[in-house]
């Protein structure tokens, strides 16, 4: 593994563990029983800058770790967050377009707003999807009525979390060592 590759893995692991710890000890107690999810928002925010490759890898691994700490079947959140990563990655605005803000008609502020909205929608949809999947599997804990009843509060909660997280993700990923190689290639293709 190259040095940059190793750095990216360490950064991703740190981000996942931090997000999961903050979710369990701060976010979840404050918003329970609404399934607002900081790790899902993080996956979305990173994917929206770094593209589908980073999104799917981060989504799958974060989901897998989260699954292992819960009592529902392993793989549910891995699948849900993998799809969040791919979907948000497909809608990513590469760094280069944002950093060329001076000549580009899209200012950074608008990109961040757009990112936050996409992240919130994707995460709320993934929570609903995971709840539906668990209900379909007949697993304890998931119920159909609350899953729909919590949709709008979840969307609002995810949006509140998404604003700082997308800003943070774009700031962190400005650092070349943490950027996806593909995104760097896009930069050089434009440059």
């Amino acid at each position: 593994m190259t040095r940059i590759g190793l750095l990216r893995v360490i950064a991703a692991l740190t981000a996942i563990v931090t997000a999961l710890l903050l979710q369990g000890s701060v976010v979840a107690p404050l918003v329970a029983p609404t399934p607002v999810s900081l790790p899902a928002v993080l996956v979305a925010a990173v994917a929206l800058v770094d593209g589908p490759g980073a999104g799917l890898a981060l989504g799958f691994s974060a989901g897998l770790v989260a699954d292992l700490t819960t009592r529902h079947p392993v793989g549910v959140l891995a699948l849900a967050w993998l799809l969040v990563g791919v979907f948000c990655g497909a809608l990513a605005v590469p760094r280069v377009e944002v950093s060329l803000g001076a000549v580009n008609p899209t200012p950074v502020r608008h990109v961040l707003m757009r990112d936050a909205v996409i992240a919130a929608v994707a995460c709320a949809a993934s929570s609903l999807g995971a709840a539906l999947l668990l209900t379909a599997l007949g697993k304890d804990g998931a119920m159909l009525t609350p899953a729909f009843a919590h949709l709008l509060p979840t969307l609002a909660g995810d949006a509140v979390l998404a604003v700082p997280v997308v800003v943070l993700a774009r700031m962190m990923l400005r650092w070349a060592h943490l950027r996806a190689p593909a995104a760097s290639a896009v930069v050089s293709a434009h440059g």
Binding site: V17, L21, L22, Q23, G24, S25, V26, P29, L30, A32, P33, T34, P35, V36, S37, P39, A40, G51, P52, G53, L56, A57, F60, G63, L64, A66, L68, T69, T70, R71, P73, V74, G75, V76, L77, A78, L79, L82, L83, V86, G89, A90, L91, A92, P94, E97, N104, T106, S127, A130, A131, K139, D140, G141, A142, M143, P146, A185, V186, A189
Partner: protein, 300 residues
């Protein structure tokens, strides 16, 4: 790098590369494979235990830093009134003494130790209530009705022990790791508690209904339930819960066309505002108590 699609400013959706499509497909299949494997109940338990144990320890650390701010935001009582909570738990402990067989000499020991202020668990006759703090709720998403406590098997906690908040039933210990434990709340829709109507003695099953409290179904189809009836945990043979703890109050009774009676129950303790809880730890077996005089008494 020829496969990377150039992105035009008007093009919203970037096409995924062939490799990314393949990875998505592959990882989805892996995830579905895991789900199938775990549904079958095989193989992944040691991975669960390892990750849960590590996160339990990390939650304790995180809670010691961020816990006070979170509790303030949540409007939970802080240090001062936690004393009141501990008093409640001690009162619950006293109640347990009545339910279990009495042994007087333990009591004076317990009083003395309590006076010394050096213990969190007071050994009562047969069982003790160990005070523990909630350091995390669920994980990842909100549809897991569990909380993580800052005490574990090292403090005497084990799977199946009843958890109370001093006022009533909260749940039971699902897993106990070394320094942390996961509690399944009775409000979990998959959780069934043997319950007894304290007015007429009808027994039945109280199923968790999340924020809606419980749904009570009496075993006797002709049971006469009334709004306002108090439910408590029932006969303990088949249930892992300690008998006699308050569950809640019946708020409505429904009789379906086939004559089945169900009742909605308002819980005594809210599942989303839990802080200091008490775990009912049964007495250690006599042989281990002889070798370890401190069994059941945990120094702070």
């Amino acid at each position: 790098m020829a496969s990377i699609t150039r992105v035009g400013p008007h093009r919203l959706l970037r096409r995924l590369t062939r490799r990314q499509r393949l990875s998505t497909l592959l990882l989805s299949v892996v995830a579905i494979g895991f789900i199938t494997l775990d549904l079958g109940g095989s193989g992944l338990e040691s991975a669960h235990t390892g990750v849960r144990g590590s996160f339990g320890a990390l939650y304790r650390g995180t809670d010691s830093v961020l816990g006070p701010a979170r509790r303030w935001l949540q409007g939970l009582p802080s240090a001062g009134s936690n004393e009141a909570k501990l008093d409640d738990l001690r009162a619950a402990n006293e109640q347990l003494r009545g339910q279990l067989s009495a042994a007087e000499q333990q009591r004076s020991d317990a009083r003395q130790l309590a006076r010394l202020g050096s213990i969190t668990a007071v050994q009562a006759d047969g069982a003790s209530v160990l005070a523990a703090r909630v350091v995390a709720i669920g994980a990842g998403e909100g549809f897991d009705w569990t909380v993580t406590l800052d005490k574990g098997s090292a403090d005497g906690l084990a799977a199946g022990q009843t958890v109370t908040d001093g006022a009533g039933l909260v749940g039971r210990v699902l897993h106990a790791d070394k320094t942390s434990a996961v509690v399944l709340l009775a409000a979990d829709p998959g959780s069934g508690v043997g319950a007894r109507d304290s007015r007429n003695g009808e027994i039945g099953i109280s199923t968790g209904a999340g924020m809606d409290g419980f749904t009570f179904r009496p075993l006797n189809p002709d049971a006469k339930l009334k709004v306002g009836d108090q439910l408590s945990t029932g006969p303990s043979q088949d249930s892992s819960y300690l008998a006699g703890l308050a569950i809640g109050t019946i708020t409505s009774v429904t009789t379906s066309t086939d004559g089945t009676v169900t009742a909605h129950v308002k819980p005594v303790s809210s599942p989303t505002s839990l802080d200091v809880l008490g775990v009912v730890v049964p007495a250690a077996p006599p042989d281990s108590a002889a070798t370890d005089p401190a069994a059941g008494v945990t120094p702070r």
